[in-house]
């Protein structure tokens, strides 16, 4: 039986990238330290700032909310009802149960009630993959909710696997605009709050273990709209490399941030300086009307589409 590297108690998890095994308590300690290091190194949060956590009901968003509360930050949650059938119903229940258990505030926005569409309908109406409409809606609505609620920071549950997979995709396309903006902290600007990713030093396996050990129930099932998407393919490829060479994901992403991102700073500034404000909502956009306002216009005019008609189908990205 393997032992914890720290205390020699029976281990509950092996972490090849650390070449070590850990008991539950010391796995939690490792996760805390990695998050504290990310917050400090990347200057994500200052004491006393109001944080809005983007909560999906999955392991990463509940783990980051739990860790920020544990570290003493004033962190409220925001859950978006995406209208993805039973999956969304269950996900919302996990988010509400966490908030009730901790006695913390969870704000909710239902896409159909507030904007007249849901993710399956948006996918059908725009003929794009559901993750595209979903991600666009989340980014816009978390930004605007933070601005309206007077929050200083939006925190998301993006982890090391997420960031490494996005980096791989951006690199395979040499998409310099996206590479230049792939940072763990996006500064405040144009009236919008700073955006931070405190879990960038933790893998998905580590955040899932955090939830299990902390007794946090979360949505385990995969989103029916995401099955087979390109992002999952990138993650599988990286995990194939990681299994043969532990630490690959961390070195790929963290060395990009340390060595490559500074070289792209001038390009990043040019991209940001070139943005306009949306004529309708004020959000940053490269054109006159932002992508979210165009999405609302198209999707809200479309008849509601049941999730079964869209899930598993692949459209344009």
């Amino acid at each position: 039986m393997s032992k914890c590297r720290v205390c020699r108690a029976p281990a509950v998890i092996d972490l090849p990238r650390h070449n070590a095994n850990f008991c539950g308590d010391h796995l939690l300690q490792l996760c805390r330290r990695q998050v504290e290091k990310a917050i400090k190194d990347f200057r994500m949060l200052e004491p006393g700032e109001r944080v809005l956590v983007a909560v999906s009901g999955g392991k990463d968003s509940l783990a980051v909310w739990d860790m920020l509360l544990e570290l003493g930050y004033q962190a409220d949650g925001l859950y978006l009802g995406l209208g993805i059938g039973e999956y969304s119903d269950e996900s919302g229940d996990y988010a509400r149960a966490f908030a009730a258990d901790r006695g913390v505030a969870l704000r909710e926005i239902d896409l159909r009630d507030a904007h007249g569409y849901d993710v399956p309908t948006a996918a059908k109406a725009t003929r794009r993959v559901p993750c595209s409409a979903c991600g666009l809606s989340k980014r816009h609505l978390f930004d605007s909710a933070a601005r309206e609620g007077g929050y200083d920071v939006v925190a998301t549950g993006h982890n090391l696997d997420d960031e490494a997979a996005v980096l791989l995709g951006n690199t395979l396309r040499w998409d310099v605009d996206y590479l230049a903006r792939q940072l763990p902290v996006l500064p405040a600007g144009g009236g919008f709050a700073r955006k931070v990713k405190p879990l960038v030093r933790l893998t998905e396996r580590e955040t899932a273990a955090w939830c299990l050990i902390r007794g946090i129930d979360y949505q385990v099932e995969e989103c029916p709209m995401a099955a087979g998407n390109r992002h999952l393919g990138y993650k599988a490829a990286l995990n194939g490399l990681e299994q043969g060479s532990p630490g690959t994901k961390a070195s790929f992403y963290l060395n990009f941030i340390e060595n490559m991102a500074p070289l792209l700073a001038a390009h990043r500034s040019a991209v940001v300086d070139g943005l306009n404000s949306c004529e309708r909502c004020g959000a940053p956009t490269t054109g006159e009307i932002c992508a979210f306002c165009r999405l609302v216009e198209t999707a809200s005019a479309h008849d509601p589409v049941p999730v079964e008609l869209v899930s598993g189908k692949r459209g344009r990205r």
Binding site: M1, S2, A11, V12, I13, D14, P16, N21, G24, S56, G58, K59, D60, C131, S132, C134, G135, L136, S137, K138, R139, D161, D162, A165, V166, T203, E204, R205, T207, A208, A209, L212, I213, V220, E221, E222, C223, A226, A227, N229, R230, H231, L232, K235, A236, N239, G240, E242, Q243
Partner: protein, 66 residues
């Protein structure tokens, strides 16, 4: 042993003691993408699983790219 798998959720029967690592290898699952839970408790890769155990192999990969 009964082994709960996800996406889709299903249970399979596996006969004979073996380690967590070997079970994942036999199922063709990447260790980096899964946690293994025995009788409700997380267990590491070299833990030996017995026929009487109830096992959950939990995927940890989330698919949203937004």
């Amino acid at each position: 042993m009964n082994v709960l798998l996800r996406n889709p959720r299903r249970t399979i029967e596996v006969h004979g003691a073996r380690t967590v690592g070997r079970l994942l290898d036999e199922l063709g699952l990447n260790r980096e993408a899964h946690l293994v839970i025995r009788n409700g408790t997380l267990v590491p890769g070299d833990e030996r699983l017995e026929d009487a155990d109830t096992i959950e192999v939990r995927p940890v990969i989330s698919g949203g790219s937004g």
